[in-house]
């Protein structure tokens, strides 16, 4: 997983709601999945160039009060879920 360079599929569109939640929409299946603000930001950081350690570094800058080990595990869990749901490609 450390070598993954997750990227956003072209069919997936995103918007941020007034409360910070993200809404991801599959324009092919016309289904939407809500994400928490943190999961949404993680999804947004998946630019197809960055590997997991780089992504965690960026998350650490955004959430300085959260231990890096915690961020790392949460990022792995979230990325796995997003890939399984077809919301990210690797």
């Amino acid at each position: 997983m450390d070598n993954w360079k997750p990227r956003k599929p072209s069919a997936i569109k995103a918007s941020v709601l007034p409360d910070g939640r993200w809404l991801l929409y599959n324009s092919v299946t016309r289904e939407a999945i809500p994400l928490s603000p943190a999961a949404g930001i993680l999804w947004e950081l998946c630019d197809g160039q960055s590997q997991l350690p780089q992504i965690v570094t960026e998350l650490a800058a955004l959430y300085p009060d959260v231990p890096v080990a915690t961020l790392d595990q949460q990022a792995r869990d979230t990325l796995t879920a997003l890939v399984q749901q077809g919301l990210l490609d690797v």
Binding site: K13, S15, P18, A32
Partner: protein
Amino acid sequence: MYELELLLACTAPDITPVQAAHINALCSQIDADALYALAAQHDLTGLLYRGLLQAGAAELAAPLADEILELGFYYDFMYPQDQALLLAALADAGIEALVLKGHAIAHGVYGERPLRPYTDIDLLVRPAHITAAADILTSLGYTPDESEHDRHWYTANHHHIVPYVRAGTLPVEIHRALVSDACAVSIDADALWARAVPLDVGGYSGRMLADTHLLLHLCIHMTCTHVFEMGLKPLCDVRELITCRPPDWADVQATAQAWGCERHVGLVLALVSRLFDLPQPAELPRPEPRFLDYVLANTLATAVAGLPDSSGLAAAWQEQGTVARLRGMLRRLFPPRAEVATAFQLPASNTRTWLYYPRWQARLVRRHAGNAWHLLRGDHALQAQARTELTRRALLDWLRDTN
């Protein structure tokens, strides 16, 4: 009572610390269910949600979260995706279209689309392209909705053709003009197209009215087409537009004068000024206080007060004394020949117009007998409506008088 004050406070585009303190103070004085119902009545749930969050009243906002999610699904993705396909299909056929009203306001003014739901898609198309636009809709699986009126009625009487519908998406109304001829304004159609600005619709590059034209259209639509029965939402639209994109008031005044709608715009801005405590531009006419009171009442009730279907009866009832009232009613039962000729679409020179008077009188009796009976019996509520009707008629006369 405080629910309305809180709702209005929450609709501000950018809530200041002072406004936030005011909102939080009101939160403890309101009935939450009444607040949510009031927001729903005026279709302002999205703005209420935004305002409560900005003010730090997350607990009061929380019950609305699921609805906002659903609004996001439809207004951020589903509907724009359908609209992008429609606009692309029209463009492929060489048909230009301007996105109007709710869709344009949600995407082009608010930015966050779930804040401003809309119930249909309004597109302005050049008159020569109306038929071709309808054919495109048909090719995309839309069908004409003639449940209220048949298509010929729309062609003869309306500024848009029959609405087109398709399961799972919003109805589409193709406009040949911004407003109906009954509004008696002279809109420069060429200028609408020349000054139109870009609008992103689900990734497609569409176009919408320029800010001045959008503001004027909003005002005319509220005053002329609906006499303020649409509630607070369009007034919030105007406030959002003029706050986030301050207009060139000289351009607004000049364009309104050219279109003959200065009073429409002045009336709306006076109401926005009263509701949201905003300064009123000096360039535009100010309405009489009784007109402002009347439209405010309509706005809050989301209904048109008065007796629009019994205007003549209401006018006759205002006469002093029974004899004068009967004389007023007789004038309506035996109007000038020209009026009867117009009502039955007869030539002005028709020598047999007198044969139509019984049909005219029968029509009046059918429409007004019930109200007339209740007025005679001293129904106070109906008498109040009759007095209100005169204010409505005076307002419409004021709006139409562009001198």
